[in-house]
Symmetry: none
Subunit: 210 residues, 4 copies
């Protein structure tokens, strides 16, 4: 006979189990997206990678697109939170850029896939990317404006400053096989990118510490 408590516990176990399966699916999908590209990833492959029956996928994500959106949102939220955390301490532009690279480093593969395919993906995918970039943009803008006040950053339109950095990073991500064959490009080239970029946007005055 089930006591109320046991019902609750059992209910909890069930939801936990379901949530765990959902996580497994998300992880498998993200990994396959990173590996083979988003559009080229078959739902059957995701199921197999997750160790589930094909049909089980559709219990959790009735349409393939919903899975993609869930992966992206999951990823976007995580990345934004990470960016906030990482940027929280540092006040300088350098700290921001390094936080950005640190945040991306952990999800390099998937982020690169997203970047590359966003154009042909559902609205939600693009919105999620935009959200990430807005978050980043906010931190960079603040740091850059402070730098301009302080005289360490050359005065210039902030959006161009931002797009130059984003473009540079994305270019390296999109061509990561070229810039760091068989390795993580941000690991290998990140320092170089930060230095170069700071060199470009700084005044000669080396006052800044971040």
């Amino acid at each position: 006979m089930l006591t109320e408590q046991s019902v609750i516990i059992q209910g909890t176990k069930r939801s936990q189990q379901k949530a765990a399966t959902r996580e497994t699916i998300l992880r498998s999908a993200r990994s396959l997206y990173a590996e083979r590209g988003i559009a080229a990833t078959r739902s059957a492959a995701v199921a197999q990678a997750a160790g589930l029956a094909h049909g089980t996928l559709f219990l959790h994500f009735p349409r393939q697109e919903e899975l993609l959106v869930a992966v992206i949102e999951d990823f976007g939220e995580g990345l934004c939170r990470r960016l906030h955390e990482l940027s929280a301490g540092g006040r300088g532009l350098r700290a921001c850029l390094e936080a950005h690279l640190a945040g991306l480093r952990e999800v390099e593969g998937f982020y690169a896939a997203l970047l590359t395919e966003a154009g042909h993906l559902p609205e939600a995918a693009r919105l999620s990317l935009l959200m990430v970039q807005s978050t980043l943009s906010w931190h960079i803008a603040a740091a850059a404006e402070a730098g301009m006040e302080a005289g360490t950053i050359r005065r210039q339109p902030v959006h161009l400053l931002f797009n130059t950095w984003i473009g540079l990073v994305h270019h390296y991500l999109a061509n990561r096989e070229l810039f760091a064959p068989g390795a993580l490009v941000l690991e290998r080239r990140g320092g170089e990118l930060v230095e170069h970029y700071l060199g470009l946007v700084s005044t000669g005055d080396r006052i800044e510490g971040g």
Copy 2:
């Protein structure tokens, strides 16, 4: 009865005809790739756009990939030649950048499609992009080094200088719906990009003319 000569002539006619059909197919394919994306373009749509039977396509390009490669190579060669032509006159960095944008402007749609999808396309696609970038790189490097000699361009590693520019341009191309909705982004934003970039890489000295 066919004389030897008529065979030759007919053969020639045939080759001409075949070459013409091939061109038609390439043009149609490129246009569709630009419009809908490469992966999303169906062979049947290409045939229809070219005014040919579906099967005829496979007479000229037995595998879909061969068509794609042909389009890309054709495009790459054309663009490189154009970049050479456009860069020939101007010696300064500004001239190089403007030549780059001018060259891209004519093929913006397809180039953007190539950029965004290259990661999941056959080797040839990436090679072709590389070839284009090498060509450009050669011109930019020359101009940049001259500028550094002359003291108008700040001293810095040329490959980073180059990748910064490429990254900036590609970022705008990849997000052209965002930066110039319903319009050609290089037309609308090109000038701004050149000015900003030159501002970044220049010394304060405004000696240069290009």
Copy 3:
């Protein structure tokens, strides 16, 4: 610790509970069958309508067909009983027809679904329909023969008499959206059908009262 008595009580409670659940399922299923058609009704929808977990259904009806058969038999028995009750009082043909329509009126939706889909349903479905029609047939035959004796009904083979009535009623049921859009067709058209049918089978002599 369970005493023997408590086991019995609990066992009884359980059976009661089980029977109650079974009733709930039957009611929900019948309602959905009537609403959307039998073949188009999903087992999951029945469970949801009954406020039960999907799996619980299969505890009571291991195969979907068993549920269907149970619904049909339940329905058939109920309808036959009702027809008997309704016919009990009236002795004339008119009373029979009106009792028939009255009996059907209460279950119009499901009866129409059964009619339209019986051909592709298990044997039991057809048998159940037959049973209903036999019941009706018995009453009508009795009334008709009495009418023929009395000279109010034209002499003719009883089975044809009966099938003409059944065919007429079923035709209106099968096309109830056409004959009474958004309403109950027997409510709207029943009177007309009875009058017309009686007109057809009667002699001119208007002696009868029912």
Copy 4:
């Protein structure tokens, strides 16, 4: 070398071939619909019955529904034409009824399936049935009114007269396994139905010849 004429001939051959395949599909589908019911017929079964690859079906009928509609329209047109032809000669009600049965006899199986499932079929299916019934209705109404003028048919609303006949015939079709096991019910019972129905609607005066 293809002359213009040969092209035309070849073109003709091709269209003939395509039309022939289409016919094969329609025939196979109609036969399976009649045999197993419309909703229960799988596209793969139709393809197999037609001796074609599964995919070929979708070349001719991109959606399953389009195949169904084509079968129904094909059938409806044929039946209406047949009704017109058959009714053309005879002027009496008897001739009309017999023409109706004759027309149906050839397509009994499919017509019965259509009747039974029309309620859950796409709009087009119901429209097609309506069209057939309208055609029939027109002929019957004309004959019935003439009969009423002539005093051979009892005066009564024509739509009820018509629906009584339709209901009777449909009832026999829907239960053809019951009324004529393993045989064509209209063949076996048609005469009886006509006589009975005429008996019901006629005045006693046996003047009429049709």
